[in-house]
């Protein structure tokens, strides 16, 4: 295999992984933008989406409607989490809200274990999505699920772009994330906007959960944890709270991880996550606004 083809294959892998990170990070950023809340439960909403989809396929629903229902299920979970856990503590200090989201994580994960046990289950992916494409005499391989992930990522992100720039609700959401008090003063219904933000973010989590599970091939109650941590890094690299930042951060992180594994010596490769989280700490220290918001004021 020539160097060029090897690099091209890695680029494909990076884009595929990066689009998943971007999907998760976008949801985190929407919530953080509006509520200034680091939502640890986001990963578990992914889990809810994936499990709903698998359950519905299990009772005989076709794949596409099951995925849509999975996304709706995740959105519903997000709605309920906001209403039950986050609304009562909306004006509490940062730490209280962070802890509450940790508690929600704890409950959802253990609920998953209670109902589904912690052993992994197969994700029933339709065979057509597992078909692989071989280009350049088999030097480059990718499957239909890679393509689908990429397509769905872009379609949903374009949809989100349209939503936040062209609709009243979306514009209101951006206004609320810019300045909650001012948004309230000009007569926006902040409660409604926060609910919308949560539902949209959780829908994204549901989609990301299904795609993540489809690529991994298995689901289990703690499946949302790793992508959540990575999405934190992605969102902070890009600029926490900025949707464009989450996108940039997601793809950059995907690229970084793939290139660490592909091009660095084998002795370093196992330390990939250590490198990634060192990068997170470095960004928090030297550029807390991320790449896209270099001048944002950070309250210390």
């Amino acid at each position: 295999m020539s160097g060029f083809e090897y690099i091209l294959q890695q680029v494909i892998n990076a884009v595929s992984l990066g689009s998943l990170y971007a999907l998760v990070a976008v949801g985190l950023s929407i919530v953080f933008g509006v509520l200034k809340l680091t939502n640890f439960a986001h990963g578990d909403v992914m889990m809810v989406g994936a499990f709903t989809t698998v359950l519905l396929i299990g009772i005989g629903m076709p794949f596409v409607p099951a995925v849509i229902c999975g996304i709706l299920g995740a959105a519903l979970a997000g709605f309920l989490i906001e209403r039950i856990a986050y609304r009562p503590i909306r004006n509490a200090p940062d730490v209280t809200r962070l802890l509450t989201s940790l508690a929600v994580t704890y409950i959802l994960e253990n609920f998953g274990i209670l109902v589904f046990t912690s052993s992994p289950k197969n994700f029933p992916l339709p065979a057509v999505l597992n078909d692989s494409w071989q280009l350049l005499d088999g030097a480059i391989t990718f499957t239909n699920i890679n393509i689908l992930t990429l397509v769905l990522t872009f379609v949903s992100l374009i949809g989100l772009g349209w939503f936040i720039t062209r609709t009243t609700l979306g514009l209101g959401m951006r206004a609320a994330s810019e300045d909650m008090a001012a948004a309230q003063l000009v007569g926006l219904d902040v409660n409604k906007l926060i609910v919308v933000a949560f539902v949209v973010a959780s829908g994204f989590a549901g989609l990301a959960g299904v795609l993540w599970a489809a690529q991994a091939g298995v689901i289990q109650p703690q499946m949302g944890f790793t992508p959540l941590l990575k999405a934190f890094v992605a969102a902070i690299i890009g600029g926490f709270g900025s949707i464009a930042g989450a996108l940039v951060g997601g793809f950059m992180l995907g690229a970084l991880e793939i290139f660490i594994v592909a091009f660095l010596p084998d002795a370093i490769t196992p330390y990939r996550d250590a490198i990634v989280f060192s990068l997170l700490i470095a960004f928090l220290l030297f550029r807390p606004g991320g790449l896209l918001q270099p001048n944002r004021e950070i309250k210390l």
Binding site: T38, A85, P88, I89, A92, P93, D94, V95, T96, L98, L99, T100, L102, A103, V104, Y106, I107, N110, F111, G112, I113, L114, T117, F225, L229, F232, V233, I236, P270, Y271, D273, A274, F277, S278, L280, I281, L284, L285, P288, I298, K299, L300
Partner: protein, 345 residues
Amino acid sequence: MIARLIIGAIVLALLAGVAFGAPSLMSDYFVRILLIIALNAIFVLSLSLSNGFTGVFSLGHVGFIGAGAYLSGILSLTVAQKASLLPHLPTFLNWFSLPFLPATLVAGCFTALLAIIVGYPLMRLSGYFVSVATMGFLIIVNVVLINASDFTRGARTFTGVPLDTSLPWVFGWLAITLFVLWRLVYSPFGRRMKAVRDDTIAASAIGISMLNTRLTAFAIGAFFAGVGGSLYAHYLGSFSPVTFYFAMTMNLIAMLVLGGMGSLSGAVIGVVCVSLLSELLRSVERGFTIGDITVPALFGASQIVLGFIFILIMIFRPKGIMGERELTFGLFKRSAKSEIKQGVL
């Protein structure tokens, strides 16, 4: 003063009596619960220093516990065990074996040093930034523990640590931890910590160095975390990197928050409540029979209940059971309230 000394001596004697007498009086099960409670009290007290009193909400504390546990474990393996379990250990570590106490002290000093190195950059951050950054630290520690297999056997179980931890050891270290933290928290330095927590800008304006104060609290907390980690290692005998990860973090934070983040006695009360509650729930969780009704085993149910209690506390009593108050039984005059009463303040 003399009366207080006498009461103090009686309390110490009582604790010592429990520590030495319990194993012969109680079943192994209760001794184990008592030991775990005391051990968790050391963890949560050391956590309260940064998270409660200084306002730096660290999610990386378990990283120090894990580092302390592994270091102390490596130091106390016998030379023969080192040769068979850790054949690639560098020569400066493989020719000796330390007894329990020195290994514990070395572990504590190492984690304190680690905290200074890590904290020097991280303690500049605040709010959720410091939480996320310290969480990053925890993950990095975990990755290093898994991959530095020459030292830690990697993801496999680290085993063979002598089972030295007994009730007197844990109670002794708990007494030392409580004493040191009590002196620290209710000293001028303690007031500096709370000033930094309550209003960083105002504290800086009157000349309190935010970084030094936070770093000192972080390092002292890490010292006792390392000590506790060593005790835990010598209690478990064998453990793996996943022992010191998010599940443990969540457990310690739940205890701290339930008890109250600005109170040492609150931290201990939180530990006792959560430990007893989860022990109780765990026995329910295994399933039981009342009359004709059989309740099946519900794994994970205890954590769900704990999670809901946690959320309710966050909503209705965010300061925890004790808040900023202390239970002193009139033993010490060092709570702010009695200082006001006695006209010291």
